[in-house]
Symmetry: C2
Subunit: 165 residues, 2 copies
DNA sequence: CGCGCTTGCTTGGGAGCCAAAGCAATGGTT
DNA sequence: AACCATTGCTTTGGCTCCCAAGCAAGCGCG
């Protein structure tokens, strides 16, 4: 047994209140919950996707490409859509390229830009890993459907108020 | 202006539905929201805490220590409470130690164990950074109080069903 | 007693993210 | 046409997290 039975977030919140920090205690608890939940969920995703030789970050890139008309996108667009730093995109594409799931091709009009294009093998891997995610973590995130929907709304509200869209 | 006005999560969900993946689309959207929200929130926290020479990870360690009776804890306990890998704790304590916010002292009974003890300076930094967080991100996470509370509950439920406690 | 499993920490390596700097190509301005 | 700010990508370096391996100390069992 390694289960302390205690909710660490509730524990932290009690500390906050005990120190007289009532008010911020709610936000603190929400923040800590968020971090922890993300950690758990991401762990699951990585697990599911690993057998396909992917990390979740690279899975996102691959899937994004598979959704585009021509299967290609400038790296900058990838960064925009996925909300990650250009350097991260470079790294992900490097790895995907050396795995043969993507190739870099020059942009036909803008010689500064580079397109990442998904390969046939890349498409196969994208399909398979998506299927695995759809059957696993995406099918059940540990909440009832209406709860998941409500969570989604609250997170959207949080993101909205942070200017995410 | 660089605001596309579009919610990228809603966009992804549309793609899912368009591909006939209805059902998992909800979980997918919830997961992606969660990741994005965490990214946003963590970014805020790092920002607030940086002026004190801390990262959020190290802030957590420091605060945890400040809450204990004697201001010290074996590294293993820190890992348990914060739910992070032992190697991460070693790294965080290394850094805190070289910043003079913490010292390593031998465990009086178990010679394998090492205690991290917060220093006076560490306490000051912990206080100040906590105050900053309490006035900033913790006071307002971008949701009304009842919404934040509801979010907290949903995340707790998610964590619970993942066996987090 | 002593062998062996467990526990506690550290080290080394991989991967991700970000910030800042460098370089090339663009494109608007004068 | 010449200039210079902007854009697109890469590189380097810092930080976090994890895994796996290594080593020391504790503990339990025959």
């Amino acid at each position: 047994m390694k289960e302390p039975g205690l909710d660490l977030v509730a524990e932290a919140r009690r500390q906050w209140v005990a120190h007289g920090w009532t008010g911020p205690d709610r936000g603190m608890a929400a923040v800590v919950s968020l971090m922890r939940a993300q950690q758990i969920v991401l762990g699951r995703l990585e697990e599911v996707v690993r057998p396909y030789g992917l990390s979740y970050a690279r899975y996102e890139v691959l899937t994004l490409l598979s959704f585009t008309r021509r299967g290609e996108l400038p790296l900058s667009k990838i960064g925009d859509r996925l909300q990650v730093h250009p350097a991260s995109v470079t790294g992900a594409v490097d790895k995907l390229e050396q795995q043969g799931l993507v190739v870099r091709v020059p942009h036909p009009e803008d010689r500064r830009a580079v397109l990442a294009r998904i390969t046939d093998q890349g498409r196969r891997v994208a399909e398979q890993s998506t299927a695995a995610l759809n059957e696993g973590p995406f099918a059940d995130i540990g909440l009832a459907a209406d709860q998941a929907e409500r969570l989604l709304e609250l997170l959207a509200e949080l993101r909205r108020s942070a200017g995410d869209f």
